[in-house]
Symmetry: C2
Subunit: 380 residues, 2 copies
């Protein structure tokens, strides 16, 4: 009863089954027992990525996996195109710049999605582009990029296709092999609903071929070291992994597969549609273009005349529901409802009740129940 409901774009509420798995006794990370759970978890991870290539757990945040993905496959001095329509697109730019990559930006208005045509034009205009990075689900704006359609374009070019699915994998439709993704990264604490602290990555043959030509510019995130250790008997990680978080990931991924990927993605889409309808029922405005609104996070314009502290402070402190604010120039201008992981009408009901009560309390709306009523109608 006292726990705050997390309606964030990560971390998400962790299921008791996962917490219980995490608290099992720590074992030797160089032994057979850990090797077994590591390879099983990496295999589950590959299944969720929908790839026949190997997947690798990394101890670190999604950002660590983003850096591993770029720095191992794009060499210093090589040209790379980054699609930037939010904070995480900017992050790929900054990571590329950190490693001396010739980082080109394809800017997209925040709240809108890049089109496959724009990427095609950019690739046609410059044949030196060795890689393209796309954020599947731009958490900062609540926009989903059309990664399947972009994949169809990318198949006609040699450039590597690098996709961040940190806040979408396990919640929106991602099929790494079918979409032709060369480097795909994700995090533990989003739609997979494990605690934060682990990330995962998978590389295609083309990505490995690129990696084999590069001396990794970082030691900790060297994917060739990860591959070498992964091939040992028993399988290992190059440096000590978060053993307890591996247990947690294993259990969380088992829960993903028990539900089934298709059903899980459908459940997330349902939550997104219900959230959009409830936002409208409250008379609020979406921040993102509705046509490209995310399956896992809904961004909403902050009603005029109230501050982020007033709004989110009240939903959190008075009603026990934690929403996310805007980042950077969107701070105070939007709020974001995460609906990822273990999410159903129950959590959305609480969230929209809290939003409605808060807005009525602040004198912004007259009908506190319009949002939560809409959720009930959506899930009827």
């Amino acid at each position: 009863m006292n726990e705050t409901l997390l309606m964030l774009p990560g971390p998400t509420t962790v299921h008791p089954r996962v917490l219980a798995a995490m608290s099992r006794a720590v074992v030797n990370h160089r032994g057979a027992k850990y090797g077994e759970i590591l390879s099983e978890t990496n295999k589950l991870m590959a299944d969720v990525f929908q790839t026949s290539n190997d997947a690798y757990l990394l101890t670190g945040s999604g950002t660590a996996a983003m850096e591993a993905g770029i720095s191992n496959t794009v060499a210093s001095g090589e040209k790379m195109l980054n699609i930037v329509g939010g904070k995480f697109g900017e992050r790929f730019m900054k990571i590329a710049q950190t490693h001396g990559i010739d980082a080109q930006e394809l800017a997209v208005e925040w709240g809108t999605a890049v089109t496959p045509e724009a990427i095609k034009e950019a690739l046609d205009a410059d044949e030196d582009i060795k890689a393209v990075s796309v954020i599947h689900n731009e958490t900062s704006t609540g926009v989903a990029a059309p990664i399947e359609e972009i994949g169809k374009v990318m198949k006609n070019y040699d450039a590597l296709y690098i996709v961040d699915t940190v806040s979408s994998l396990g919640g929106d439709y991602v099929d790494v092999d079918k979409f032709g993704i060369d480097v795909c990264v994700t995090g533990s604490q989003k739609c997979i609903a494990a605690p934060p602290g682990m990330a995962a990555i998978t590389l295609s043959d083309d990505a490995w071929a690129a990696a084999d030509k590069i001396d990794s510019p970082t030691f900790y995130l060297d994917m060739k070291a990860a591959r070498k250790s992964g091939n040992k008997v028993p399988p290992q990680t190059p440096y000590t992994p978060a053993v307890s978080l591996t247990y947690a990931m294993n259990e969380a991924l088992n829960m993903v597969m028990e539900e089934g990927l298709e059903a899980r993605v459908a459940r997330h889409h349902k939550a997104a549609e219900a959230s959009v309808a409830a936002v409208k029922a409250l008379g609020l405005e979406l921040f993102a273009d509705e046509a490209v609104s995310s399956a896992t996070v809904t961004a909403v314009k902050m009603p005029e005349g109230i501050s982020d502290d007033q709004f989110r402070g009240t939903t959190r402190d008075k009603y026990g529901v934690e929403l996310a604010g805007g980042q950077d120039h969107l701070k105070g201008n939007i709020f974001r409802i995460g609906h990822m992981g273990n999410i159903s009408y129950k959590e959305l009901t609480q969230a929209f009740a809290a939003i409605g009560m808060t807005l009525k309390g602040l004198g912004v709306i007259e009908d506190a129940g319009a949002g939560v009523a809409s959720i009930a109608e959506s899930y009827l």
Copy 2:
């Protein structure tokens, strides 16, 4: 009863209090609740480092902290002296090379410790050396370096003093400010006895001054980003931290402070002395020079005629005690007994009983009880 006793140089057995803390509900890593636990944990970490400077938790292994320590404070092209007498000294060399640092090696025979005089000579011979790295406790050989005495030498030079205390902090005597250490790194799963997956680092004013002149060559391990986020209200990490492992570190560090640093270090030294005596009682030979034998891990020469699999496989599979083997060229030539974290005569009794029974079973010794009897005598 079925759990294997870990007598490894990390990970170590995690106390149920720490496991329970870890399994608490995950909170928003950008909110006040996490900010409070983060700053409390960083403060505890600084207390254990014995520094008035800030300490920072990193989500990653000890290697990540080693890389953060070097790459943020020594610029590409600058000259750095690395003391190499084992696998972790080699690791500092490799990390430095990864970042284009002019990495010089002061080689020390494996099993022996560097002398302060040798470091003084090297610094006198080359005034371009900007930093010196020392592994306090070389886990691969069971040797402790005299970091207090080296610190007295280092105070006469401008070079930064970088010390890896991954497998010593909380188990052997480390006083960062008194020893004049500029960069000190450690890990969660050694003497602090939390699960693996977190590391910590502290930087002196001189180290920060060096860092302020360098663009961090990695994005994930950028310490200036960590400092900036740490100064926010509430305090944060630049990228999503392992929230559950922060809980675990908090509880484990509280247990360290409840015991008292001095008492904890004395307990580890007692375990080391008892182990050395028991090794001798079994007629076995130490690998490390006894005068510099580690407080947290004892390395022992493998008796002639038996293989690593025979010996460690038996202690583990038949007797439920997991020991560490040798690494690299020491594989099969030594075994290592970790005695770090929550260690008392009870664990050593089990370990030396298992060692004695195994060796008698393999026909190497006649008296299976000599080691465990020696432990009892030591702790009488």
